[in-house]
Amino acid sequence: MPKDEGIGASSKRREDLRFLTGKGKYTDDINLQGQAYAYFIRSDVAHGTINSIDTSAAEKMPGVEKVFTAADFEGVGGVPCGWQVTDRFGEVMQEPKHPVLAEGKVRHVGDPIAVVVADSLSEARDAAEAVEIDITELEPVLNMKDALKDGATKVHDDLTSNLCYDWGFVEENRDAVDAAIKGAHHVTTLELKNNRLVANPMEPRVAVAEFDSSTDDYTLYTTSQNPHVIRLLMGAFVLGIPEHKLRVVAPDVGGGFGAKIYHYAEEAFCTFAAKAVGRPVKWTSSRSEAFMSDAHGRDHVTKIELAMDKDGQFLALRTDTHANMGAYLSTFAPSIPTWLHGTLMAGNYKTPLIYVNVKAVFTNTVPVDAYRGAGRPEATFQLERVVDKAAREMGIDPIELRRRNFITEFPYATPVAVEYDTGDYHATMDKLLEMSDHAGFEKRAAESKKNGKLRGFGIAHYIEACGIAPSNLVGQLGARAGLYESATVRVNATGSISVMTGSHSHGQGHETSFAQVVADMIGVDEAQIDIIHGDTGRGPMGMGTYGSRSIAVGGSAMVRATEKIINKAKKIAAHLMEASEGDIELKDGAFTVAGTDKSVAWGDVTLAAYVPHNYPLEDIEPGLEETAFYDPANFTYPSGAYGCEVEVDPETGKVTVLAFSAADDFGNIINPMIVEGQVHGGLAQGIGQALVENCAYDENGQLLSGSYMDYTMPRADDLPMFNVDHSSITPCTHNPLGVKGCGEAGAIGSPPALVSAVVDALQRAGHTDVTHIDMPLTPDRVWAAMKS
């Protein structure tokens, strides 16, 4: 029986009322008294030397406050990177400076060179036309393998090469893996690309900053998934503003998907300029600017080898990846192809020996960082594709091959340094086969054939590491921050509750689901609880939302703080009822004394805490407010089986996704409606990657896909209704809610299922030489594969 309220209920979202009536408050909706507008002049070449910048004519244009260049930022820090990877030789990565505005060189199309600040945006834009910039174009560095050749042009002259790092994991296993592959019964090899993507949250980035010269206080309103992290990075590393003088607010944020984690130059610029010009400064990204300034995602080139014995048991796995960093290191960039990728290469399988090599390369392209899934989609894609290919080569059904190698005993320590706490991969596979009517596939395929179409079914089983992350572990791995989360639970005198969480909601519905948890624990109505987030001025230091961490880490912090509240409230209740604290029970919002009919309501206890006339002041303080910081003991490991059924038109190569089924194990579920919505969105992004999306540069480093005219976003008519299930539940063993996180799964599991489905359709039609097609599977690529 579904619940109406609390944990497990599909509570309707309280956020929706403001969003459905036009009352949402996004950053671009904020206009400060007297604000000026910033317009960024960006490089139109991929690589070049700046000879001169002449701003004199522009400075005289109507409405212009000031034109800023790198010269104005002398003594200001660069945009920092939050993760230092150590390479396989024990050396730290090469880390170039990332100036707020280009110093001497431009390194990608979109690199900011100068900024006009003026009374209006149109005046700023007009004046930008009058800024004269002389650039000598240099050869662009684009192809990652060429970039690593001796004598290659360098993106950064002060680095020794274009190699950021050469990472090996687990380095001690390198020789053993080589030997196992050499001696194996069969080795399946696959070379593939994980296409470069642009996150494209529908709300472009915006920054509005103000400075109060009477108090030295700065306030930055920004489109961020983690305002406290921006305060830390920008305050400490770029502008030198102490935390107590810098408030960062991320109000309603229109989607993030990773692209709004990072600290960007535009945020630092507006904050800096607000003081320099003595009035608030606002910048709103156009979509075209977003394509050339938001961090991109993926862009890996990989060779993977899977060694098996004669029965298809996996013996060893070796993978070799070139990962594109772009021109500068974005906030989390170095961690994505390494610790969020290499550690997932075991997948759901008992492969005893694994070696992962990753070469991260600088190129004259937009920086690349986490995009929904972040490293885990890249790991899952190559692993599931090679398993699919291996099944064909071994003559074993791909489902059977997976089942033979599934991990079945938990906890399970993988050879790539992580320990899975729980899971039941056969259960999710069983569920998938049932919900996708796998048994009826042949009949449907025959029907398609009659209609002149090729039908195929593809499967993928994924695992991901979420609930990011244990601070002591990530510290050893190079993180320059902790990854705990915080919550303050403030119970008001009348019993209503304000929860300040360090997690940030930008579509995930935390204001609803977080309230469900606290309501359930205390036994009050959800309506009595408000969730407050996104403002460093209101809540304790928090690390924000990414890596499917909000409920697993942020939710756990909130549970811990609520437990403290309940413990204190029980003491007060015991005093009020003249009973022993140990006998007090809290149920449905009332405190009772076990074995008696004595009872005191929640509101009476909270009132006593703030009006402590009859109160144990000698034992406890008045008031009812508690804070908790929660640092997870381990990652969480959601997993699931995904199945995709496609039809290919043999005349045109067009792929139609007929059905997509997802059987996930997310552990316990707080709000099933929200969880399903998260999976739907992830699936659309994964299917988008596999079918239509691609960020492309030409041979000169010009961004070809720089707008919605040429970067294909999945539209409603590209997608089917999704069939999703989360009834296979193995609760997480190490957090108080038993939750695992669900935000990224859809984007992680779906691309290999779709590609395998198309390969299956082609194989069934006799194209037995087609073992892989690189994403996106556009009609021309599929048609070419059929004709090859």
């Binding site: 579904p2 599909s10 309707k12 979202r13 956020e15 929706d16 009322l17 403001r18 969003f19 459905l20 009536t21 036009g22 009352k23 949402g24 408050k25 996004y26 671009d28 909706d29 149109s122 494209n200 949250p201 529908m202 709300e203 472009p204 309603d252 944020v253 229109g254 989607g255 156009s286 979509r287 075209s288 930008h506 579509g507 995930q508 099933p672 409606m673 929200i674 399903e676 919505g677 739907h680 969105g681 992830g682 699936l683 659309a684 992004q685 707008s707 919605y708 005219m709 976003m713 999945p714 539209r715 409603a716 008519d717 997608l719 209704m721 999704f722 069939n723 999703v724 299930d725 859809g746």
Partner: protein, 161 residues
């Protein structure tokens, strides 16, 4: 500067605008009605859809001056007179047809225009109609469901599929 007079959500307003001012910026910047959103600069995303004389229009494709004398309806004018959510808005909430909310105003305005012309659209007709409205959060699944529900057609309960 050109003087434009138009009706927005039933109220007559007048403003002086530059020739290059778009209807979307008249609404957002001059009238401070920030429910209409700007998600792109190529008229692809549909976050800025409003109704002009009863027809769905991407307000970034129209100059403010062209709206002189027009009746414009925006997301702020979609709720019932008593402030309660209209059938379409309520269906989006009931079926979780929105997440971050940024594309939502355009989706609701497009859905209303669709149902005016086609009161019982099929799933395929809804998907085809939404060609010009991008959503990055929902995968469109629950938007399609919400529109079907708003048109009085049966849809499965959200969390029981």
């Amino acid at each position: 500067m050109t003087k434009v007079t138009l009706t927005v959500n039933g109220k007559t307003v007048s403003r002086s605008v530059e020739g290059r001012t778009l209807l979307s910026s008249l609404l957002r910047d001059d009238l401070h009605m920030t429910g209409t959103h700007i998600g792109c600069d190529t008229s692809q995303c549909g976050a800025c859809v409003v109704h002009v004389n009863g027809e769905a229009v991407k307000s970034c494709t129209m100059f403010a001056a062209e709206a002189d004398g027009a009746e414009v309806k925006t997301i702020e004018g979609m709720a019932n007179a008593d402030g309660s959510l209209s059938v379409i808005q309520a269906a989006f909430k009931e079926h979780h047809g929105l997440q971050c909310g940024f594309c939502t105003p355009g989706m609701v305005m497009s859905a209303a225009a669709l149902l005016k012309d086609n009161p019982k659209p099929s799933e395929a007709e809804i998907r085809a109609y939404l060609e010009g409205n991008l959503c990055r959060c929902t995968g469109y699944h629950n938007i399609v469901k919400a529109i079907m529900a708003a048109s009085g057609q049966d849809v499965p309960a959200v969390a029981a599929e």
